[in-house]
């Protein structure tokens, strides 16, 4: 019979402050098969681990229960500990008496102690049914996929490519660059955004290790760490990239003009276009929804009566290298990669949901990003800040913070992190553009926690003479040419009204459209807002809970450029740690078939989402199920589908779970 050792952790006072350790130890002594009980001040400390190792050797322990914090915290640590003492690492069970006990029952010590004893009892009963499990080595594809070509994705791709690994960078838009490409300057240094971004974009395009797929989307992901299979939809540009010389004649001559998304509708673009002059790649795309020839084709295809729309095809006729290719169609590419970095970025909150700010019907109420485009020398006004309504220069500008942030009514309880800083930046830039501008910044709290940030706010206040008013805006309405902005100066406790020429809404950050759907196909978790969830908010901030998939940038949470770049590099390092291994170790906690019990009904196969159940014919001619261990992810769905318990899950076997249930009543 197995000799079981039980180690009860005090975790300082985290556990011992609530749970009576002595009572737990005394109870453990009486549990079946337990031959040794000890306590530890901190089991996870080196001293604690050494004590466990020594006890295993001295007491000839064959199985170990550690009653401590959640297995999510230290199961991996303690598996190593017992392995160092010569035990199979899977002959360990953790009783979670901290997160599930002492921390949640601090108000009732007796009940907490009683519960801790039962949790240990369950763990002892379970560990008695543990079996030694052994890992296997599997191969991997030494190539990475980066989803999203904003600054985070660019950084991750460059870091991995520079480390010598091939990278596929997939971007949904026709160009990489992301949101950063839309910004004029960056805080707190006031570097020109495109001046620091463009060289990186070009480096991506020219890097021999990077395959850049723009105007493309990840459709599905299958497989597991080291061996992902990705389907990528490459949308048709209708322009042959191998012929195009980016001369620009097509987009200059295209007669169809529509509001440019890149400029948030503040200027026009053609139906064949590159989003901005420094786009990478600088190959234009034909916007199918607006191209006249495409509309003509659709009209003809519908076989409608009436006057046919013009055929146009001006771009095709004028293109010197004849790069327009109407036959080009969407293509699905299949790629194998070993690691994935998700950097899908953000979009800004739709401020038209605020009726009290005019719901979008006042032209001179604009968003922060729109002001960036007005400030930018490459923007629609070539850097001249003018009112969209009448083209005049605004003198009184009001900034409204927290539009779609810290607002539970809008379902956005969180702070968007960057708005305080970009409002200060824009106030400074406005003053630089026109010394007569007076900025008023309505804020709730000024959040300026970064390096040099607080100083930057002072610069806005002192140099740019921005007036900061503490209070949220309640109402904006048009009074002739002026916009009346009603707020409270909550420091004086009096209502404030400002007649503004321009109102800038600091719209908050939310995950890009489609991020949730992508997360679903990647099988990674996301929160209620659609931000990706980290494996651990503090200790594993750029890993998803799915092995081999890493996260960077505003896909995780609102963040500023230095934060995104750091995360891009961090995610790259984490991915490189996978790619640089000679082989991967498989998780041994997978399903297993008992061939004597299997009747070959294949309920398991019908339930399995991973195609991990194959069939095999036994020597006596029976067809039964068999588990493909490299595809099995260990969910155990097949186990519950099997009425005859022919299917079992190593590590969470029917015997183990039943032992836990039974222990509760023994």
């Amino acid at each position: 019979m197995a000799r079981i050792g039980v180690f009860v952790c005090h975790c300082g006072s985290n556990i011992a402050g609530t749970v009576n350790i002595a009572q737990v130890m005394a109870a453990a002594q009486t549990m079946p098969l337990v031959t040794f009980v000890a306590d530890n001040k901190y089991s996870c400390s080196e001293i604690g681990q050494t004590a466990i190792r020594e006890a295993i050797l001295k007491q000839k322990l064959e199985r170990v229960v550690i009653a401590a914090c959640s297995p999510q915290m230290h199961e991996a640590t303690f598996r190593k500990t017992v392995a160092q003492a010569g035990l199979n690492p899977y002959l360990l069970e953790i009783a979670n008496i901290r997160e599930h006990c002492s921390w949640v029952h601090s108000n009732d010590k007796a009940a907490a102690t009683k519960k801790a004893i039962e949790l240990v009892k369950m763990a002892v009963a379970k560990v008695a049914r543990h079996e030694a499990l052994f890992t296997k080595e599997i191969g991997l594809t030494k190539k990475a996929l980066v989803i999203g070509g904003g600054i985070s994705g660019i950084q991750a791709a460059l870091d991995m490519a520079n480390a010598g690994y091939p990278v596929i960078l997939v971007e949904r838009e026709p160009t990489i660059g992301g949101r950063m490409a839309q910004l004029d300057k960056t805080f707190p240094t006031l570097d020109c955004s495109s001046c620091i971004l463009t060289p990186k974009m070009v480096e991506v395009a020219q890097h021999p290790n990077i395959t850049l797929l723009t105007y493309a989307e990840v459709k599905s992901v299958r497989g597991f760490v080291g061996n992902f299979e990705v389907e990528i939809l490459q949308r048709a540009r209708k322009v042959d990239a191998s012929k195009c010389t980016s001369c620009g004649i097509c987009w200059q001559k295209c007669p169809e003009k529509i509001p440019a998304e890149f400029n948030l509708g503040l200027g026009p673009r053609a139906a064949i276009y590159t989003p901005f002059p420094q786009a990478v790649p600088n190959i234009p795309s034909i916007d199918l929804a607006h191209c006249r020839y495409i509309k003509y084709q659709e009209f003809v295809a519908r076989g409608e009566e009436g006057k046919k729309p013009p055929q146009c095809r001006i771009c095709e006729r004028l293109c010197p290298p004849q790069a327009i290719d109407w036959e080009q169609s969407d293509q699905v590419l299949v790629e194998k990669v070993g690691a994935i970095v998700v950097a899908t970025g953000y979009q800004t909150f739709d401020h038209t949901r605020y009726g009290e700010f005019g719901a979008g019907r006042y032209p001179d109420v604009i968003t922060g990003i729109q002001l960036e485009r007005l400030l930018s020398a490459s923007g629609p006004t070539e850097g001249e800040v003018v009112r969209p309504s009448d083209g005049t220069h605004p003198k009184t500008v009001v900034f409204v913070s927290c539009v779609g942030s810290r607002d539970e009514r809008m379902g956005r309880a969180y702070c968007s992190n960057v708005c305080c800083m970009y409002m200060a930046k824009q106030a400074i830039l406005l003053k630089e553009h026109d010394p007569e501008v007076q900025s008023y910044i309505f804020y709730i709290d000024i959040r300026a926690g970064g390096k040099g940030y607080e100083e930057f706010i002072r610069r806005a206040q002192e140099e740019a003479r921005a007036i900061y008013l503490r209070g949220r805006i309640s109402h904006i309405y048009q009074d002739g040419k002026k916009l009346i902005v009603r707020g409270e100066d909550s420091l004086l406790g009096r209502p404030v009204e400002i007649a503004a020429d321009l109102v800038v809404l600091a719209t908050g950050i939310e995950p890009s459209a489609g991020a949730k759907e992508l997360a679903q196909s990647l099988n990674i978790s996301y929160d209620a807002h659609g931000f990706m969830v980290e494996a651990h908010p503090k200790l594993r901030p750029v890993e998803s809970r799915t092995e081999g998939i890493f996260l960077a940038g505003t896909a995780i949470a609102p963040n500023d450029i230095p934060g995104c770049v750091a995360q891009g590099s961090a995610a790259a390092v984490k991915a490189l740690a996978v790619l640089s291994r000679p082989s991967l170790v498989s998780d041994p906690m997978v399903a297993i078939v008992d061939p004597l019990r299997c009747t070959g009904c294949f309920a398991c196969q019908r339930a399995c989402a991973f195609n991990a159940i194959d069939s095999q014919v036994t020597r006596d001619g029976k067809t039964i199920a068999v588990v493909n261990e490299s595809l099995c992810k260990g969910c155990g769905l097949c186990v519950s589908a099997c009425r005859g318990v022919a299917m079992n899950l190593k590590g969470f076997s029917q015997q183990q779970l039943l032992a836990e249930v039974n222990a509760l009543w023994r």
Partner: protein
């Protein structure tokens, strides 16, 4: 019903969402009644109907199965299977004389520590209110 009646609830929590959600409740020091005993499983879909029925046979006052929200299962589909399985099992148990409310399937994400603690508090109160099992605790009469 005695005032000190303390129901015993078995909770099967999926490792990826709900178990982590329960951890989050702990990390956030959100207290809840000590009636629940948590069993870690990889997925709510792993929870066998026999295992749950066994809990009731042994005398559990209630069973909670918690997994990732629909669409967020770490294994894509396990929670959908759990949803069907426990819908049917609940009907069967109710037909056999165990109130439907005693078997709950809930979705708790890794971030929903608060939801978990509220859930356990509510569930414990609800079961305490329901009182001991009508079949005298041990399934269908225990020592009959």
């Amino acid at each position: 019903m005695a005032l000190d009646y303390q129901p015993k609830i078995v909770g099967f929590l999926c490792n990826w969402c709900s178990y982590a959600g329960a951890d989050m409740a702990g990390t956030s020091r959100l207290t809840y009644p000590p009636n629940i005993r948590i069993i870690r499983v990889p997925c709510s879909g792993r929870v066998d109907a026999t295992l749950v029925t066994k809990c009731f046979q042994q005398g559990a006052d209630a069973v909670l199965v918690a997994g990732c929200h629909p669409g967020e299962c770490h294994y894509s589909e396990g929670n959908y299977h759990a949803r069907r399985r426990f819908t049917v099992l609940r009907e069967l148990l109710s037909f056999l004389g165990i109130e439907k409310d005693r078997l709950r399937l809930e979705w708790v994400s890794a971030a929903e520590g608060k939801k978990f603690s509220q859930l356990v508090s509510e569930f414990s109160a609800e079961i305490a209110h329901l009182g001991p099992r009508k079949d005298n605790g041990k399934a269908a009469g225990g020592s009959l």
